[in-house]
Amino acid sequence: MTDLLLSQVKAGGEFQFGADEYIVNLGPQHPATHGVLRLIVKLDGETIKETTPILGYLHRSIEKICENRTYPQCITYTDRVDYVSAMSVNLAFALATEKLMNIEAPSRAQWLRMIFVELQRLASHLLWMGAFAGDIGALTPFLYGLRERERIMDLFEMTCGQRLTYNYIRIGGVMIDILPDFVPKCRAFLDYFQPKIDEYEDLLSYNPIFLERTKGVGIITPEVGIDAGVCGPTLRGSGIACDVRKQQSYLYYDQVQFNECIETAGDCWSRYKVRMNEMRESVSIIRQSLERLEPGPIEAKMPPILKAPVNSEIYSRIESSRGEMGVYLVGDGTAKPWKAKFRCASFNNLYVLDQLTRGWKIADIMSVLGSFDLIVPEVDR
């Protein structure tokens, strides 16, 4: 069988060249690929003929690792699936396990989860905004984004002691209750942060150069988007309502008021605008959640060793910062998952890159990649 496989490898790995065409390797060490993504780009002058993403430079086989860890231990590894939005992946895994084992987290824990996940969304979108602008050539927004992100990190560190890999959202609740001064500090941050979004928009949104680089570039039509499994803000930029928070509500998202941000053009600028608006919505969700926060237990009553029922399986989806985050778990009656699969948004979003960039200029790869909010560890896992 291996012979068969090797022949297939060879068949796919060769390029046919036309006149004046040449290959450029963008990455795995390149300033614009956000880590170790490698793109093999076939160019004719400046024009792209074909883009082939080569994945796997950051493949740590987290799914295999999870098969050999107990359920709570897996949570520490989910931090590393998407380290820019670690809370979301924590939540995705915790929710899946809870559904698998029929555990109901108490209400305070659920509200806390919502606050932290939405704060994480802000942090992630801030980093994305900076990186996106940096890809296009404006370096200053990156530092503005990081400046605000630091304050979110401070909130996280105050609560759970870590700044990047939190291990905060646990099966059946959260790790630890918030400090008494968390709520005022969080409110103060939101008050500080809200006007900043307008400032970023002043800096970028209608800047003619930014518009030139993003309007009409990398258009994902709704049909292509759905067919290729694009999800999250990237698909919402094409005018498809696909927010898991609305469609398959988890936590208490059905109890708060928020709008699903949708733009219709499907180009880089729409995706940018969707995320900018999402930041505003997140601020509003956090404010409402802070209002609804009531004292109570933060962890459900659980057996000391968590075991999944035999032959149980669950596919649970959440809306992470990058889009649909699915966790598929198969339980076999032991304390370790038989199978854990993370369905990550970046993986599917990257798939359409080739279609979007054909015929465009090499600089457009940067705009399109940036607008996807690509996190390479999430692609490679």
């Binding site: 520490t76 590894y77 400046r147 002691g161 870590q162 890999t165 790790m175």
Partner: protein, 158 residues
């Protein structure tokens, strides 16, 4: 019409460029937010998971650890090595404790699992970089930590 649009585009584009420029130049005259690290240090929150320490009881002249191995089992990466013996008074005591910080991911499960107040996170010590990888394998002497008489903050992560 096309002519008018051409010029209004130029003018509005120019205006938007100036709006952007006003933001950055505005910040030019505002203060900075950075901290000059080695000289200025921000205090870390009390819950900060910066370094794991073994609590040493100064009065009894022994570690709190009783070698129950709960931390070892909780560790997702198996980076704790722990041995204990039953002493003359019938109580178990830890003899060797090794924590490999090169594989530790500071998840906090060991500290949470400890039921004898023997492991803790300290927030004071966070410059953990070393020159040799071997120095990250710390034993009980390197991890020895005596709790201050008055705890700095009651809200320690535990």
């Amino acid at each position: 019409m096309g002519m008018i649009k051409y010029f209004t585009n130029i003018v509005s584009g120019f205006w938007n460029l100036m709006v952007g420029l006003s933001v950055t130049i505005g910040y030019f005259f505002k203060g900075t937010t950075t901290v000059q690290y080695p000289e200025e240090r921000l205090p870390l929150p009390a819950r900060s998971r910066s370094m794991i320490k073994l609590i040493y009881d100064g009065e009894k002249d022994q570690f709190n650890c009783v070698a129950c191995l709960m931390c070892m089992k909780a560790c997702p990466n198996n980076c704790i090595k722990l041995e204990g013996v039953r002493q003359a008074d019938g109580k178990r005591r830890m003899t060797t404790f090794k924590l490999d910080f090169s594989t530790c991911i500071f998840c906090g499960y060991c500290v949470e699992a400890c039921g004898f107040d023997a492991l803790t996170f300290v927030s004071e010590e966070y410059e953990n970089a070393v020159y040799k990888r071997g120095s990250l394998l710390q034993d009980e002497q390197a991890m020895k930590w005596i709790r201050p008489i008055q705890p700095a903050n009651q809200e320690v992560l535990k």
